[in-house]
Amino acid sequence: MDFEFSKKEEQLRREIREFARRELAGRDLITGLEEESLDEDWEFAMQMSKKLSQKGWLTMAWPKEYGGRDASFFEQHVYMDEASYRGIPGMTMGVSGIGWVGQSLMLFGSDEQRKKYLPPIAAGEPDGIWCTAYSEPNAGSDFANIQTRAVRDGDYYTLNGQKIWTSCAHRARWCWLAVRTDASVSKKQHGISLIILDMKSPGITIKPIYNYAGIHIFNELFFDNVRVPVANLVGTENRGWYQLMQSLAFERHSVAPQFYGTARRILEIIIKYAGRTNLHGKPLASDPLVKHKLAERAIELETLKLFGYEITWKLSKGLIPIYEAARNKAYCDFVMQRLATTGSEIIGAYSQVDMRSKWAKVEGSITRLYMMFPGISIAAGTDEIQKNIVGQFKMGLPRPY
């Protein structure tokens, strides 16, 4: 048993702290994600992506030949934790490319695909911005129910159908797309393929969906006879489901270290606020109720931290943590919800003040988290889906649906 980070990893943490102090100048974005909403935020995020790439951090765990530097899983863990804590915009570059497209292409992609698509991601270039289109109006948790069709015609697929809840589509150069290539199969998990879609292709319509906080993350995508070269197929035709499950596991692995960093920052903000805000002539921080709530949140955070360490440790040993990733995703959602609700109780009536208003408390950070957490919890699979995965893969229970 040993929970120590190496000297190298601690050094990296200091460098990131220093970088954030130098480069952000107060433009940190603690809960991330919404950087893709406003043009000015996006532009700043892209500048940061470039700088993170120049530091060798953006895709540090990738092999050198694709623009990484073969960093260890633990170095990457420290980077994700610390960069999230510091609120460095651009660290995920619209999420998909860094989060799972790169690693999936290394597993399932062709050499040409790797050479073409990986370097722009690693370089923090606009050509490295990806979106991911899985969900459809009738395929949410029942993801295998997708209907968007790709029909092969010589060297091309012709694409027709609709995707929804596609984050970052309005910023993306490429789309990581799940489609149905065979509709005749008896089991709907079969007949699904993964293809790379050039977002500049004719026939794509992007319609923004604003979330209830007024932030533009999601989009609807409509495909009207969009032609995609067969060379853009990833892996094996009709075997996409297996690849997608692996891709989703990559997505969930990063959840704990990343959101732990965010949650750690938010808890600190609340603690400081409680220390400097008086009620009945005494700081809120001296109220036993406030103390106990925040102590409970701190315990949950410490648990999340250890769950994150566990996954990184397993990855570093060459294991493939499947249920752990699902457990962490569900636990993370629980932690974020409790933190957001406790935080909003502590800033009280001010939790309803618009996060950009001059009257917002703590720069609107609590309100932002409060508005975002339900969405975060649904992305990459709902709590219920995660718990189903844990039930089946870890506990050996029958599929409940």
């Binding site: 048993m1 040993d2 102590a295 701190a298 410490e302 566990e310 440790w313 229970l397 649906y401």
Partner: protein, 377 residues
């Protein structure tokens, strides 16, 4: 970073699991709940032969000089089996502070008998209030020029009725300065003026009320020096607390295992009940909390063992242990249905111990307050 147990710890775990499943079956646990001694001296002697009682004692006192983490592993296994008896009070509550604070003479006089399983020890700390706040210690030890005279009561002292010696934490000065006015004494339970009564508890787990009436203690009986009782107290509140958490963590694992097995075999509506989402998600929540507790226990024990600041994390572990143990027992019983509520089922053995695990060494609120101070509130 490494979550794995080392080879020695893995061997200890395997050995403990084998021994306890053989010697300390659930049936035996139930028998001992009804036994007036509350434990099995033969079992304790065998544990001594295996080197468990001397696990963390130095070799020169007949121990094996293992570390705190090894003891964590062992207590996790004892927790899985809810092993009744004075092992915890002797080793976790007393042997560790004896080694830490004892004089050469005290260590030479007492340690080998602990390692050999010849003497049983316990800690007399909390009082009628049940509080683990040092300020609530009222039992007095007054110096009369030749001896200290101890007067007062100690409550919930585990296995005092079986103990040969007690570490008693007393007030030797004024209440206004709790930092300096506590002193720990080693008291022979056969001495005059000491009265021990069993408190009937729901788990029949041998907790006692101990009354002191002019019990004499000499300077040679002081552990850690006059006025240093607070240091002894603080040490116990860290090392023994994390060991209690290890025990609880093991118990939680056992309840989960038992409940999961039942959810797979119990058929209703023609299906195992574990296939119903309401049950399955409850089991997943239990697993998440049980794993989280286990890691938090390992992590805080490692912090303590490696000489780092550990107080906040230990309190986190204790507060979480209290909550998780109660929750997995409640959910465990509910998933079992009516059979889980019956005297015949083992899950009740765990349920009956929730409260003693919760209150010994400080309840959830006590530790949440410590966590709050630790995070800057």
């Amino acid at each position: 970073m490494d979550f794995d147990l080392n080879e020695q710890q893995q061997m200890l775990r395997t050995m403990a699991r084998d021994f306890l499943s053989r010697e300390c079956s659930r049936t035996r646990v139930r028998e001992l709940e009804k036994d007036s001694r509350g434990y099995d001296p033969d079992m304790l002697a065998k544990m001594a032969e295996l080197g468990w009682l001397g696990l963390v004692l130095p070799e020169k006192y007949g121990g094996t000089g293992a570390g705190l983490l090894d003891l964590v592993v062992l207590l996790e296994e004892m927790g899985r089996n809810i092993t009744p008896g004075p092992f915890f009070p002797t080793v976790a509550l007393c042997a560790l502070p004896l080694i830490k604070f004892g004089t050469k003479v005290q260590k030479a006089g007492y340690a080998a008998d602990i390692a050999g399983g010849n003497k049983i020890w316990s800690l007399a700390l909390t009082e009628e209030s049940g509080s683990y706040d040092a300020a609530d210690i009222n039992c007095r030890a007054d110096y009369n020029g030749t001896n200290y005279l101890i007067n007062g009561e100690k409550w919930f002292v585990p296995f005092a009725h079986a103990a040969d010696f007690l570490i008693v934490i007393c007030r030797t000065g004024e209440v206004s300065n709790p930092q300096q006015v506590l002193t720990a004494f080693i008291i022979d339970t056969k001495c005059q003026g000491l009265k021990i009564e069993l408190i009937p508890t729901i788990a029949g787990d041998g907790q006692c009320r101990v009354r002191f009436k002019n019990v004499k203690a000499g300077k040679q009986d002081i552990l850690g020096g006059v006025g240093n009782g607070r240091k002894v107290f603080d040490f116990i509140m860290q090392s023994a607390t994390i060991l209690k958490c290890a025990e609880v963590s093991g118990a939680c694992q056992a309840v989960l295992d038992m409940t999961l097995a039942y959810a797979k075999e119990r058929i209703q509506f023609d299906k195992p009940i574990g296939s119903f989402m309401a049950i399955q998600h409850k089991l997943v929540d239990m697993l998440t909390e049980v794993e989280g507790l286990q890691y938090l226990v390992y992590y805080s024990a490692w912090l303590l063992a490696s000489g780092q600041k550990a107080a906040t994390q230990i309190s986190m572990a204790k507060a979480k242990a209290a909550e998780v143990y109660q929750q997995v027992c409640i959910d465990g019983v509910k998933i079992h249905g009516a059979i889980g509520f019956s005297m015949d089922h083992d899950i009740g053995c765990f349920f009956r111990r929730i409260k003693s695990a919760e209150f010994m060494l400080g309840d959830r609120d006590t530790h949440l307050s410590k966590v709050a101070s630790g995070i800057g509130l």
